[in-house]
Amino acid sequence: MKKMRPDEISAIIKSKFPQVTEEAGTNYIIVPKESILEVSQYIKNPPLALDNLHCITGIDRKEKIEVVYTLYSIGEHHGVTLKVNLTLEDLNVASVSAIWKSANWLEREVYDLFGVIFSGHPDLRRILNPYDWQGYPLRKNYSNPDFIAKPRM
């Protein structure tokens, strides 16, 4: 089977879900946070068969937090990247851990480091930091008394 290019994949997704957009200059697909579950459900199954949720990343863009889902297909050898933008006021997004089991720990990690709340997650606790940790360390405005910044040249 011919390997699909990212733009072909995003074309398929866009034709199915009109609400998704493409980030300018890249092939990253921006999904509104309400429709992450149905998009996930669709792309997990053939024809796209993206059965491998490789990585979930949070990015603190100061005014918003991006959650990036990196997906690959073992059988079809192609991949796609989804993005969900969350405003700081409402950091809720549906959990995809029922669709891909690997999301369980990956989402816990994003919750731990960024404070994004994945609703519907079976066990949303901190994972890397102690359970009683305060704050979300990878936010850009995070501060901690023990934190010693390296002097920059």
Binding site: T26, D51, T70, I74, S102, L106, P137, L138
Partner: protein, 373 residues
Amino acid sequence: MDATQTKDMYTEEFLINMGPQHPSTHGVLSLELKLDGETIRGCTPHIGYLHRSMEKIAENRTFTQFIPFTDRLDYVASMNNNLGYVMAVEKLLNLEISERAKYIRVIIAELNRIASHLIATGTFAQDLGAFATPLFYCFREREKIVEIFDQICGNRLTYNYMRIGGVMADLSGEIIEKIKEFIEYMRPKIDDYDELITYNVIFLARSKHIGVLSKEMAINYSVTGPNLRGSGVKWDLRKDEPYLVYDKLEFDVPVGENGDAWDRYKVRIEEMRQSLRIIEQAIESLPQGDVTVKVGRVHKPSVSETYFRTENPRGELGFYIVGDGSVYPYRLKIRSPSFSNLAVLPELVKDIKVADIVCVLGSFDVLMGEIDR
């Protein structure tokens, strides 16, 4: 509490904490086990005891300054971590490196893969109770590789050898001779392991049909590397999405049949053989030329994002790098293979004996350094 209760006697499950200091948790993993006698009824892993906040550090280091930190992620396969990181940065910078550097990277990465699999083999046998002997044999062989690395870059464990735009130093003729000697030395040793460990009756009894990970579950949990191949999925980034010069080299991708602990172990043993083949071919076709391309000390990528993954000994190591036009990465996410590999553990250890959880964990070959980052 689901316990069997009669009128005067009752039994109850008890909790036992395995770790963070326990001889077979491979570092500082903590497992909370719910036991019914010897049988495990539930298992909750607690991680983060080695969380050094690498991703926060990365935001305050230049791209070159972060290379030493990648050494300390998966510290038994530092070269492969270096490789994954510098290749991700090169992809971000659209940098093409010289042909010789590519071959050298392949040779070094494969040597380190053997070193890493040796530790995996040794600790697995140790976990099954073959006290120290297989582990020390594996360390004896690993010492040869470490010696070569020591000669190349001056350190035994944290190499910092791969650089953005090439490698730190060229391989001299003497080192290439040493690597060739090592290949000759290593081949019969792997056969020795087959005799000592792989086909040992007790070893087979202990590891066959234990912790069976089905194909579907492996993919769904995003298990990668030898653990995925042990479940029978023929997926190896070096073959399926070749980087460097892997597409020019000939090697097989060993796969397991049942997805049990023994299969995962066996895949590693076979991969060592394949790695030796790769190194041999790479040395034969090593071209002449520079090992670094001229790049500045600081790198300023444009505002862009990239995700790049390489095949590490433990699975697929991915780096998600966001550049904001400055010399520091805006965000650097490390997708470590062991993290996803460990997540599947609670599924596999239900209703098996205490002794088997050690076996399953050992066969997954997780490393806390890259799980906690």
